[in-house]
């Protein structure tokens, strides 16, 4: 079972969230969230991950700490964030005010055969984050609330925020970002004014 409304269209959800991204720096979790963010429009200020499952939110933390003048948005999936479960405690303790995590939650491990994940068996990542001490958390079921969420993500926060978006469990045609990690890294850093060695 997915959820009552069967979830949002993930591509449309991400497109709405990134439509007014301004100078937000984006990190994506491996798999479908990387494809969703790429489908919404490639950008130098996006760092796509193709591996290192569980890393996305923590890459976001290191980036947020290094760039306090930018908002950092991590877009990942339920399976990826579940692998970085302890990282939510690390982020809550670090308490950056410029880091937001969006979990695209289809309650399944979509890349590997659509096995039901922990979020499909009762684990609520927004409530975990709230219990850890995130400043704001929430769960969204409908696209019509996302324009408001997109605006909220541009506003200052008192600490890290995590929002769960319940999306349809489906594998859409892939929109593939570059897989060359050095290229992605150098492009991202150049966007911030840093040269390769």
């Amino acid at each position: 079972m997915v959820n009552e409304c069967n979830g949002m269209d993930r591509r449309e959800a991400v497109r709405i969230l990134l439509a007014e991204r301004k100078n937000t720096l984006v990190v994506t979790g491996l798999g479908s969230p990387s494809y969703d963010v790429h489908a919404a429009g490639d950008a130098d200020s996006t760092c796509y991950l193709w591996g290192a499952m569980g890393a996305a939110a923590l890459v976001g933390l290191g980036l947020a700490q290094a760039q306090p003048g930018h908002r950092v948005l991590v877009i990942t999936g339920d399976g990826e964030q579940l692998m970085g479960f302890g990282g939510l405690a690390t982020i809550a303790v670090a308490a950056p005010r410029n880091l937001d995590i969006i979990v695209l939650d289809n309650e399944h491990f979509g890349e590997t055969g659509m096995q039901v994940s922990h979020t499909g068996r009762g684990i609520a990542l927004d409530r975990i984050a709230a219990a850890a001490g995130f400043a704001e958390t929430g769960v969204f079921h409908h696209l019509d609330a996302l324009r408001q969420l997109a605006n909220r993500l541009q506003q200052a926060a008192q600490g890290p925020r995590l929002f769960v978006l319940k999306i349809k469990a489906e594998n859409l045609p892939r929109s593939l970002p570059p897989r060359d990690a050095v290229f992605i890294k150098n492009r991202f850093r150049a966007h911030l004014g840093f040269m390769p060695c």
Binding site: A52, L61, L63, A66, G84, T90, V93, R189, L192, P196
Partner: protein, 185 residues
């Protein structure tokens, strides 16, 4: 025998004089412009961790598991800051897949690893990862250096930091158990 009786008193045999090398190591990291340090609490790094936490120029992150530090260091570099990760040899095993992040993106990485299971080890559970640390790190593309004396720690970390941050290398410095002194049980 109760569990308490099974473990000899640790407190009674701790060395009383603090070693100087952690203070010099702190200065080396500062001189190399390291700005973020993450760590899993470790007796061998206890003094250094304390110095870093109290340094207003440093951002420190306490981790729930060591691989988190690899991800944070990669993010720090994406944002233009140099980072180091402190851990014990047992934690190096936790990092193996995550190290693909730094190796694949060719992100500068400086790991300072205090060794267990290597010299006068009392706890057999530490020996496996103590022996596997170097081959496991090398297997995933990390360059490994050893520091076997306190003096060696300073020079080795200094040049390792240069290689990491100036040449985009992923480097681990293994701090020999002899530098730390045998853990007294």
């Amino acid at each position: 025998m109760t569990p308490t009786e099974a473990i000899p008193d640790i407190q009674a045999k701790q060395p009383t004089s603090a070693p100087i090398w952690p203070c010099r190591l702190h200065q080396v990291l500062k001189a190399r412009a390291v700005r973020q340090v993450s760590y899993v609490p470790d007796a061998g790094h206890a003094i250094l961790i304390d110095l870093l936490i109290n340094d207003p120029d440093m951002t420190t992150n306490v981790l729930t598991t060591e691989e988190e530090g690899i991800a944070i260091a990669t993010g720090a570099w994406l944002g233009g800051q140099r980072a180091a990760v402190l851990m014990q040899s047992s934690g190096a095993g936790n990092c193996i897949n995550m190290l693909s992040l730094a190796v694949q993106t060719r992100t500068p990485l400086l790991l300072l690893i205090t060794m267990r299971g290597q010299w006068g080890e009392f706890n057999p559970w530490q020996v496996l990862m103590g022996q596997a640390t170097e081959p496991a790190l090398r297997a995933v593309g990390v360059t490994v250096f050893h520091a076997t004396t306190a003096e060696d720690v300073i020079a080795t970390v200094d040049q390792a930091a240069g290689m990491a941050f100036e040449a985009d290398q992923q480097i681990a410095v293994l701090i020999d158990q002899r530098v730390l002194g045998e853990k007294k049980w």
